[in-house]
């Protein structure tokens, strides 16, 4: 055992020394684990493209990004995280799209002293009791957009909502988030099967419920199926949803069925600020498509990182953490700051789906919540 330990110590000391020499001062190695293949790859690709656009625009050559595909499988994500930490020896990690993958990777990554910047997932466990000094969420806490939808519904005078989400934790959180800010009655509450594709039964229930509005959280293909079927059903109760089902990548597949639907988002392509206008224009020039919500989140994440690098060396964890906390960067969302639990405090808007020429997109019609933090911040003792 002693020889082994000695051997190990010698080898690792050598490795440390060589790292220090190679990396020099101020360099940051970023490990991005995101979904690039299989179902849901569109989201990961957008986050990656947004992130890389920001790095490219900055011209900062001290950032090295290693990108890996998690295939949306938690066990793959965990191994990639091990690889990033153990063999790539990255300083900062980012990229994960899905809450369940984030729950698998983030706690152990931050426990090993890495910084994690979340460009999408914001599970409540990481915002409340499980918050960590090294974890920064640049997107939203999962409940935020649902809370905003609830607030919007109350403000718009809706009194009898029918609410619906898939039967899994994010779905349950979604409905709870909505109910937290919604003051009216519930005409019905339905959990659908995760991955369900046919919603005839639920639409019949909606028709029979006498609701004045329908709030639904059905990410990805589920939302597309639901909206198309809803449009063909003749039921004309207005729909409200979070931005995920009305995103740039998805809208073209939904088509007319989505027109006029109100949805809540912390970002929109028509947000009126300089950073955003430049981002939308440059993203289109670079990738030949309109940016999505996810692209904006990737872009902001990279800018946050770059802003901290200006101020501190990543090897000095305390200083770097403080620099991140300041959130001193120009966000595509306008105002952006971090709460005590390192989750965003930001405005959340209400958008409406419109058609611009041949392209379906969103325009902002109001603000649902201003400077909104999340419901779990108080449980976090930082």
């Amino acid at each position: 055992m002693k020889i082994k330990t000695l051997l190990l110590a010698a080898v690792s000391a050598a490795a440390l020394a060589s790292n220090a020499i190679a990396e020099g001062h101020g360099k940051v190695k970023v490990g991005m684990i995101t979904t690039l293949s299989g179902g849901g790859a569109g989201l990961g690709i957008d986050v990656r493209d947004g992130f890389m656009l920001a790095i490219k625009e900055s011209g900062n050559e001290n950032v090295e990004v290693v990108i890996e595909d998690d295939q949306r499988k938690p066990d793959i994500a965990v191994q990639l995280a091990d690889k990033m930490i153990q063999s790539e020896k990255v300083d900062v990690m980012t990229g994960i799209i899905w809450s369940n993958l984030a729950m698998a990777v983030v706690p152990s990554a931050v426990a090993q002293g890495k910084f994690y910047l979340s460009p999408n997932a914001g599970p409540s466990a990481l915002a409340g009791k499980g918050c960590s000094p090294n974890y920064f969420n640049v997107a939203w806490q999962n409940d935020n957009l649902h809370e905003a939808a609830g607030a919007y519904a109350s403000e718009a005078g809706l009194k009898n909502s029918f609410i619906m989400a898939p039967n899994y934790p994010a779905g349950q959180d979604a409905l709870n988030g909505y109910k937290r800010f919604y003051k009216g009655e519930l005409a019905g509450e339905v959990f659908t099967k995760l991955g369900q594709t046919d919603y005839a039964a639920e639409i019949a229930q909606i028709r029979a419920s006498g609701a004045d509005s329908v709030y639904f959280f059905l990410p990805g293909g589920m939302g597309i199926s639901f909206m198309k079927q809803y449009a063909g059903s003749g039921v004309d109760i207005p729909l409200v949803g979070p931005a995920f089902s009305f995103d740039q990548g998805i809208l073209q597949a939904v088509g007319d069925a989505a027109l006029g639907v109100k949805n809540t988002s912390q970002w929109s392509k028509d947000l009126d600020n300089e950073t955003n206008a430049a981002f939308v224009k440059n993203f289109q020039a670079e990738y030949d498509r309109l940016p999505s919500l996810y692209a904006s989140q990737g872009f902001d994440t990279a800018n946050l990182l770059l802003s901290a690098m200006e101020k501190a060396d990543v090897k000095d964890a305390d200083a770097f953490r403080a620099a991140l906390k300041e959130a001193d960067f120009k966000s595509t969302r306008g105002d952006f700051s971090f709460g005590n639990n390192h989750h965003p405090i930001q405005d959340i808007y209400v958008r409406e789906v419109i058609k611009e020429g041949d392209v379906y997109t969103n325009k902002i019609i109001g603000t649902a919540l201003e400077d909104h933090a999340d419901a779990f911040a108080s449980e976090c003792d930082m």
């Binding site: 293949s37 299989g38 179902g39 790859a41 569109g42 690709i45 039967n167 349950q172 509450e189 339905v190 959990f191 659908t192 099967k193 995760l194 991955g195 594709t197 046919d198 005839a200 039964a201 639920e202 019949a204 229930q205 028709r207 029979a208 990805g220 293909g221 597309i224 199926s225 198309k228 079927q229 449009a231 063909g232 059903s233 003749g234 990548g249 998805i250 073209q252 597949a253 939904v254 088509g255 007319d256 069925a257």
Partner: protein, 305 residues
């Protein structure tokens, strides 16, 4: 819950069942005649949907899109039969499962490479986008009624094909005895290619029909594939009648389970957890149905021992 709503939900269950039948018919036909488990059937469903979406986008015609889905799936089906599938007829089920699993990987990623990661657009035709009022005041989607009729036409067509035509006779002969059909002087490999292409075309058609009201995206085939397998196993593998009965049973169980179970649990627990428990059980319901059927009838409802 009102009677009208219950009737509407039963109609929904039937319609879901018919959608499953379109998919299951080809699967069970291929198994019955060639003894092949084809996991790649879901990929043919996806091929049909993508072909329809692509043609609809460039021509704007839904009928042309349907034709394209049939043709594309049949051609792709014939090609994989010639290149891969025919080498598997004499293999055990294990090899078949693995080889067709490999085909899924190839098809899914190739499609993603060709069409990208985002869902494609395919909409119902203008003429069918509204609703019809049925007796009793039920407003029902015309497109869904169309799906039900297509399903019935396909079911009747298949029954006629198998019981009345020469090809059907050969199919039945092939089911009973592969040697005999060879002895009859039928070119067995041509017949197999034909049947496989027919099954593929049915899968492609259902992909296109369903794609119009769901989302056309990579990986859309696998959940349906599993359901279609549940259907044909319940009905008895190889039996078209079994596939029809199984499909409708699954459609009804799934739809009514989703609606009734949460209501049932609400009788003795608080609303929110009743919804959650009820939906959990509902998502397992068809698998419970399948296990129960197999435990009492180990070869399905209409299967031969």
């Amino acid at each position: 819950m009102s009677t009208v709503l219950i009737i509407e939900q039963i109609l929904n269950g039937l319609q879901f069942g018919v959608m499953l039948f379109l998919m299951a018919a080809g699967l069970t036909l291929i198994f019955g005649v060639m003894g092949l488990i084809n996991l790649a059937h879901g990929s043919l469903y996806m091929v049909g949907a993508f072909a329809a979406a692509a043609v609809a986008a460039s021509t704007g015609s839904f009928l042309l899109a349907l034709a394209a889905s049939l043709a594309a799936a049949a051609i792709v089906g014939a090609i994989i039969e010639l290149v891969v599938i025919r080498r598997l007829y004499d293999r055990d089920h294990l090899d078949q499962v693995l080889a067709t699993f490999a085909l899924i990987l190839i098809f899914s990623e190739t499609t993603r490479w060709l069409f990208g990661s985002f869902p494609l657009f395919l909409d119902v035709p203008e003429a069918l986008s509204g609703t019809v009022t049925l007796p009793g005041g039920i407003a029902y989607s015309s497109y869904r009624l169309m799906i039900i009729s297509v399903g019935i036409i396909v079911a009747v067509g298949l029954f006629l094909l198998i019981s009345k035509t020469r090809i059907g006779m050969r199919i039945r002969a092939g089911e009973n005895d592969r040697e005999m059909i060879g002895a009859l002087g039928v070119d067995i490999s041509k017949l197999y290619t034909l049947i496989f292409a027919l099954g593929a075309a049915l899968a492609g058609l259902s992909g296109a029909l369903v794609g119009a009201i769901q989302s056309v995206q990579v990986g859309m085939g696998e959940p349906v594939l599993i359901l279609a397998f549940v259907v044909i196993v319940i009905g008895g593998i190889g039996s078209i009648k079994g596939a029809l009965v199984g499909a409708i049973l699954v459609g009804l169980t799934d739809t009514l389970g989703r609606v009734m179970l949460p209501l049932f649990f609400a009788n003795f627990m608080e609303q929110s957890s009743a919804t959650s428990v009820g939906s959990s059980l509902a998502s397992m319901s068809i698998y419970i149905l399948m296990a129960a059927v197999l435990i009492f009838k180990p070869t399905g409802l209409f299967g031969r021992a």
